[in-house]
Amino acid sequence: MAPQRSLHPQVAHGSVVIEVEGLSKIYRVADKQPGLSGTLKHFMRRRHRDVHAVRDISFSIAPGEMVGFLGANGAGKTTTLKMLCGLIHPSAGQVVVAGHQPQKRHPDFLRRITLVMGQKQQLLWDLPPMDSLRVNAAVYGISDRDAKRRISELSDLLELGEELTRPVRKLSLGQRMKAELLAALLHQPDVLFLDEPTLGLDVNAQARVRQFLADYNQRTGATMLLTSHYMADITALCPRVLLIHQGHLFHDGPLDRLASRLAPERHVRLELDAPVGAEAFAGLGRLDSCCDCEVNLRVQPDELTAVVAQLLERFEVRDLEVNDPPIDQLIGDLFRQGSV
């Protein structure tokens, strides 16, 4: 997926487009007990506590990379994205994005980035998307001719047509999200922050948005940092993932390595000729299930060869499969457990 064209040559030639060093964010939030007495106490003497949303995280992203940002609700993903795009100021640490300190929100910086939030919209609700696009074109100083050409190109990629001249409130969620993407990309940013861009979309619409993002990355060489609760988004788009947990960066690297970190065991599925009791698998890994002729085991990778050999020797095996556990299941388990 080599970039064919870069919007900003200096970024393409640089080795890092996002540099984060020791980044932290502490929110001060009011602490109120429930009930009347809590309300009175809160009124008389307001108490606050510090919430450490992001704790001392560091990473860097090269131009053109598509990086998945994973984490449970409240893990610190969105707070980090907000700091990277300059919406909020860090409590500590350094951030440099496209050569700028985001929190200064210099116009040159703002022209090079975009933030897409799946649950929020920038389009004017009562007007067709085309009106918002005209405003964006003017704000970013795009000539009418260029704006027309870019709208035409992006709407082709996004499969948007007459939806652009229909009031936003009349569009389906999927159509609205695609129009949001168009509005966010009209100024051809080379750094995209995408916060749950497929949230609430049906499977087909999710796939179309994913395909669009992949095409956009390929066409423009744009860098993307993407958060999503849908693992399909991450697995389809992001060779590299960052996993943030309780404000700490837990993993930075390829997705498959995250799977081995989260669950070092391999899954072995056996299909036998005849049913065998569960006790027969003692000492052959951890038994997940044993039902009729189908058996599921979890085995440590360094014991895998020996265990498979024993299974083939001891039982009449019709079929045998060895898999890594599904990444979405692992991350789902992780989020449910609440601890790493």
């Binding site: 907000k82 919406l87 007007l127």
Partner: protein
């Protein structure tokens, strides 16, 4: 050239879009225009009161003053705090902050779009007023009309900056609209909406002159109604308030944005 991100093309496109946006709310805006008839209610109260002589205006003068007050109010009404508070609390402010245009321009454009939408409703109400009170009919000279338009626009600017100053407190308090009530009461009494400033005792008049409120309604209304008023002093004080408030708003905004936590976004 851009002023806080603004240039002529943005003005044209933003105004056109906001006008189209406000037209979607035309029925609501018609009701708002109707709800601004307080000056007419006050006119009927003053006309039925023995205290009317204290105002130093004859019947026609009083009619014209309150009609002018109604028109000035129609084109200088500001609801910045409420719009901004909602945007700040729901996170709608976030995309505005990430564009190379100062977000306050968007609110200015919304207000101007709304004023354009109000225009026909205000014209109809004015026509009805003249049908009921034909003696009060007058057409201001072109010079007075231009001066009144300028005074009204400056009144709008002062009101907008005052509300922006309070709206910026949303970055700290989250519910700045409650503070707007502090402005509303003195505005109601000292702006000339309930009575021309001449109706108040001298010490209240003197006190009021040190506030921006008489320059929001009383001064532009008197200019429009072609009543005796010191134009030079009036415009100079309006300008002084703008020059005083503008840097305060920008400073408070800059400090506030540092505290913005992008709630709801």
């Amino acid at each position: 050239m851009r002023i806080f991100g603004l240039n002529r093309k943005i003005i044209r496109v933003l105004l056109g879009t906001e006008y189209a946006h406000m037209l979607e709310y035309r029925a609501e805006i018609a009701l708002w225009a109707l709800s601004g008839v307080l000056p007419f209610i006050m006119l009927s109260l003053w006309n039925g009161s023995d205290a009317r002589d204290a105002l130093g205006m004859d019947g026609v003068g009083l009619d014209r003053y309150f009609l002018s007050a109604f028109l000035v109010r129609q084109f200088s009404v500001v609801w910045m705090i409420y719009a901004f508070e909602e945007d700040a609390l729901t996170g709608r402010l976030s995309p505005y902050l990430l564009q190379p245009l100062h977000p306050l321009w968007r609110y200015v454009a919304s207000h101007l779009g709304e004023q354009l939408t109000r225009l026909p409703f205000a014209a109809v109400i004015t026509a009805i007023f003249f049908l009921i009170q034909p003696n009060a009919f007058w057409l201001p000279s072109l010079g007075h009309f231009v001066l009144a338009w300028l005074a009204t626009w400056m009144a709008f600017s002062i009101a907008f900056l005052l509300q922006s100053l309070i709206a910026s407190l949303c970055f700290w308090s989250e519910k700045a609209s409650a503070l707007e009530r502090l402005l509303f009461i003195p505005f109601l009494f000292l702006s000339g909406l309930l009575a021309p400033l001449t109706a108040f005792p001298p010490f209240v008049r003197t006190l009021a002159q040190w506030t921006p409120f008489p320059y929001l309604i009383d001064f532009p209304a008197r200019v429009l109604a072609e009543q005796p008023v010191n134009l030079l002093v009036g415009f100079a004080i309006q300008l002084a308030w703008i020059v005083l408030l503008l840097p305060l708003v920008l400073l408070l905004w800059r400090a506030g944005v540092r505290r913005y936590s992008a709630m709801g976004a």
